[in-house]
């Protein structure tokens, strides 16, 4: 039995059972392939242990039997003939060619150990960078490997840590915790739970959760809540389906979210419709905050954001009057130049309306493992931590951000300063295809490194261009794991169903490498022992959790009133002042602006008018397609058929102005570079704004062409330097471009 306070669901069957000729394995999904969720799945395998079908687990309260297309078409990824099947090695001089040779796992491990030992002994462990992507369930173990090896240079390869981290660290700094919308996800009985009520208003702000399923949110919970009475306020430059169904849609100019939030706050304060009691009792710095937002009158806010003043009024009144207000904010807030003060501005809206720790408002996600903080930092010696690239430049990186600054790492590789960089460990990321800026620059920098290890499911542009040793990873149905990650955590296991052949779990590779360098940090015989250790607090071992999962953690509302948010047991929030800080004492101590602020994006029509003349359209990148998670899934034929090529969406007037027609190939060109797209008309966009997705490649183009990433990667328009002065935020969603036809 799990420890007290944990709740379970009842299962009709054991986690492995037979259905006709097929074996069924119940468990959670997680990467890769995957997303940020970890839905409950039933994996059907045949007598040869081959995955033949995936079904949503109706007993799992998380997704309640539902699945998106990516897990439905999972067999096409797992059984794909292009999967990497065995470890390979290639002479660094032959990078970019298919000169890989098959080696055994023990040869691979020994060779990697020898090389990494050499760099550690001769140049210091900091000369090896650990470069990962979104990481998901694998991130935890990569961080432990980097740190226990002795390198502080671990990064998720995105400049300005501009994904999720600004929101999380921003909230933690000002209110002592991250907060997520309350959709009843913390309860095993979900919508039936008597303590829960649906949010009166959900603000969908800077994300399209139905498609993105990000940060531990199953997007269609929004629909479940709408059916139960929640109203939507949507802040998006595009008329998404949710915007069309909303009570109010604010068509915002990209990158001006902070100004809108400050305008909304100012209006609520002027009209005295904020929650005075909560502010009096639990907020710190209200006067300074009120003064800071006071210039953001309706007129000024409207001018900056392109939103009519009367709609700003409507939105402010809607938020203030709402019985439970959930801020469903997304990556667009992180992907502006200065994300920290923007996050502060948005989170002020939940603070001054008292929507913290309350049913149908914002909740502190229960955790078994501090997911974003990494795992095992205590194994990194202090003198190594001092060498972490970026901490001298960005004071905020000393307060909870555990990664190195990706741009600073890149510069160190390029210039050999402040110390030489020699090798890279690349896992869970496709640098040349995926989420980082200027892929060409990243590629050229990495080419300078003497030794590169890659771990992946498929041959990717990055692995083809860079890997000297390439290790084949198992997909999630082929190995065990646990789903403790972003959002509200549950005791949830990923259970092996299919035969991985020679592929190995990412975690197994890290455990094996880790113990060769630091056995004390990796005392476990098997990955399952390691998972049991992480699950300790639940009172269940991994094997017991496999049967019982999902297991829900203890949860209660209004903990700030009972002293349960703070270690010292005092009432209030886990900040220095014990209140949620509209004026941040932590930022003030770090020499940062203690109050929220709006910074005009650069480039933009107003900050760089000359550039705007040559590049007359605002382009937002990272629009999500139903079929794809970042660079993944392009090889799954049923998914690819639904969206064969990347599109740029634009208003028909925009197309007309530039003589373009639906379906034709165009170049999108900014002052940094260009990328190809197909025109798709959409009346739901402002004619001054175009929108496109990212992570594109053509697997059919073959490895030597790097799968056409050179012409498809939209991040060619973005420079590594297009980022925040304090290291938090980058410009992915606010660039300028021009559009012209592709001519042969």
């Amino acid at each position: 039995m799990p420890n007290e306070g944990y709740t379970m669901v009842t299962h009709e069957k054991p986690f492995r059972y037979l259905s006709g000729d097929l074996k069924v394995t119940r468990g959670a999904s997680w990467s890769g392939p995957g997303c940020h969720d970890g839905c409950g799945v039933l994996l059907y395998t045949n007598a040869e242990d081959k995955l033949v079908r995936v079904e949503g687990d109706p007993e799992n309260p998380y997704n309640q039997g539902r699945l998106c297309v990516r897990c439905l078409a999972l067999t096409e990824a797992v059984n794909h003939p292009d999967r990497l099947r065995y470890p390979m090695k290639r002479d660094p001089k032959k990078r970019g060619t298919e000169a890989f040779e098959r080696i055994t796992w023990s040869e691979a491990y020994d060779f990697i150990e020898e090389k990494l030992r050499y760099y550690k002994d001769n140049f210091g462990a900091e000369s090896v960078v650990f470069w990962r992507g979104t990481g998901r369930d694998i991130a935890t173990y990569i961080s432990r490997f980097a740190w226990s090896y002795g390198s502080p240079n671990l990064t998720s390869g995105i400049n300005g840590i501009a994904c999720y981290a600004p929101r999380v660290f921003g909230c933690a700094s000002t209110s002592g915790s991250f907060w997520v919308g309350d959709y009843s996800q913390q309860f095993a009985d979900r919508y039936e739970n008597p303590q829960w009520k649906p949010p009166g208003t959900i603000a969908i702000w800077g994300n399209n959760p139905l498609i993105s399923n990000s940060d531990g949110l199953y997007g269609h919970w929004i629909i479940d809540c709408m059916k139960r009475g929640s109203h939507l306020l949507v802040v998006d430059p595009k008329c998404t389906w949710l915007a069309a169904k909303s009570a109010l849609w604010l068509q915002i100019r990209p990158g001006t979210d902070a100004a809108l939030a400050m305008g909304l706050a100012n209006y609520m304060i002027q009209e005295e419709i904020y929650d005075k009691e909560f502010v009096d009792l639990w907020c710190y710095g209200f006067d300074e905050f009120s003064e800071r937002v006071s210039p953001y009158t309706l007129e000024k806010t409207s001018e900056i954001t392109w939103i009519p003043p009367e709609k700003i009024v409507q939105a402010a009144r809607m938020i203030a009057a709402s019985d439970g207000f959930a801020l469903q904010w997304g990556v667009a807030v992180d992907q502006t130049t200065e994300a920290l003060p923007a996050c502060q501005a948005l989170s002020a809206l939940i603070m001054i309306t008292g929507n913290l720790d309350n049913p149908g408002g914002m909740i502190k996600p229960p955790e078994l493992l501090n997911y974003l903080g990494g795992w095992g930092q205590e194994f990194l010696p202090q003198e190594q931590e001092e060498k972490r690239l970026g901490i001298d430049k960005y004071s905020f990186y000393r307060t909870g951000v555990v990664s190195a600054a990706a741009l600073t790492v890149l510069e160190a590789i390029e210039k050999g300063e402040p110390y030489p960089m020699k090798a890279a460990w690349i896992q869970t990321t496709d640098i040349i295809t995926g989420t980082g800026p200027d892929p060409q620059r990243a590629k050229e920098a990495f080419e300078k490194l003497e030794f590169i290890v890659g771990v992946d499911l498929f041959m990717t542009a990055t692995m083809m261009a860079l890997a000297d040793v390439l290790l084949p990873a198992a997909t999630y149905p082929e190995r065990n794991g646990i789903r403790v990650g972003d959002g509200c955590q549950r005791g949830e296991t990923i259970n092996q169903a299919a035969d991985p052949g020679e592929c190995k779990a990412d975690m197994e590779i890290l455990l094996e490498m880790g113990r060769r360098f630091n056995p004390e940090a990796w005392p476990w015989e098997t990955v399952e022992d390691m998972y049991s250790y992480i699950l300790t607090d639940s009172g269940l071992s991994f094997a017991e959790m496999q049967e019982a999962a999902p297991v829900f953690l203890p949860y209660e509302y209004h903990k700030y009133k009972t002293g349960k948010l703070r270690r010292d047991g005092q009432v209030g929030f886990n900040t220095l002042t014990g209140r949620v800080e509209l004026y941040s004492t932590m930022y003030s101590r770090l020499g940062l602006d203690p109050l929220p602020e709006f910074y005009e994006p650069t480039p933009s029509p107003y900050s760089t008018p000359e550039l705007y003349e040559e590049y007359p359209l605002i382009i937002i990148t990272g629009a999500r397609d139903w079929m794809y998670f970042h660079s993944e899934n392009r090889r799954q034929e049923h998914l690819r058929a639904l969206r064969p090529e990347p599109v740029v969406e634009m208003h028909p007037d925009t197309a007309k102005k530039y003589g373009l027609t639906e379906g034709e190939w165009v170049w999108l060109e900014g002052h940094r570079g260009r990328a190809k797209r197909i025109v798709s008309l959409n009346l739901g966009l402002d004619p001054r704004v175009v929108s496109t997705s990212h992570g594109w490649s053509h697997p059919e183009a073959g490895p030597e062409r790097l799968y056409d990433t050179r012409e498809l990667n939209i991040n060619s328009l973005i420079a590594w330097e297009d980022m925040s002065k304090i290291g938090v935020g980058a410009n992915y969603k606010v660039m300028l471009c021009k559009i012209y036809k592709v001519t042969a």
Binding site: R53, P58, G65, V69, L210
Partner: protein, 112 residues
């Protein structure tokens, strides 16, 4: 008895799960569908109103998942519908449900 699908199109988000669930479980190649989505919009009308409506249509290739063993006993598309806006059942039963909420679509698929 005559079978039918009741489609509460107010909630259909256009997620394609019904389409892909059907293709995978029936081994249909890309381009063949037991159920196929139509996407209408977005376009604006009147003051600030938008049409953005998705409607799945069941084709003659749909077998109603007869003989398929699943955890719920439901057709694969229905079981996975992310908006939970599809119901499969007896035509006359579903007609009653439609009376309760008339702004739905009822597609009869005959005896399958």
């Amino acid at each position: 008895m005559s079978k039918a699908f009741l489609i509460d199109y107010e909630w259909c988000t256009g997620c394609h799960s019904c389409e892909v669930a059907c293709q995978m479980v029936n081994d249909f190649p890309p381009g063949q569908f037991g159920v196929k989505l139509s996407i209408l919009g977005p376009w604006p009308y009147e003051d600030d109103k938008w049409i953005f409506t998705n409607v799945p249509f069941f084709t003659e290739q749909c077998t109603c998942c007869a003989g398929l063993e699943t955890a719920t006993g439901q057709p694969y598309c229905v079981a996975h519908c992310q908006a939970k806006c599809l119901v499969f059942g007896e035509l006359d039963e579903l007609q009653k449900q439609m009376t309760a909420k008339p702004s739905q679509l009822l597609q009869g698929v005959g005896q399958r």
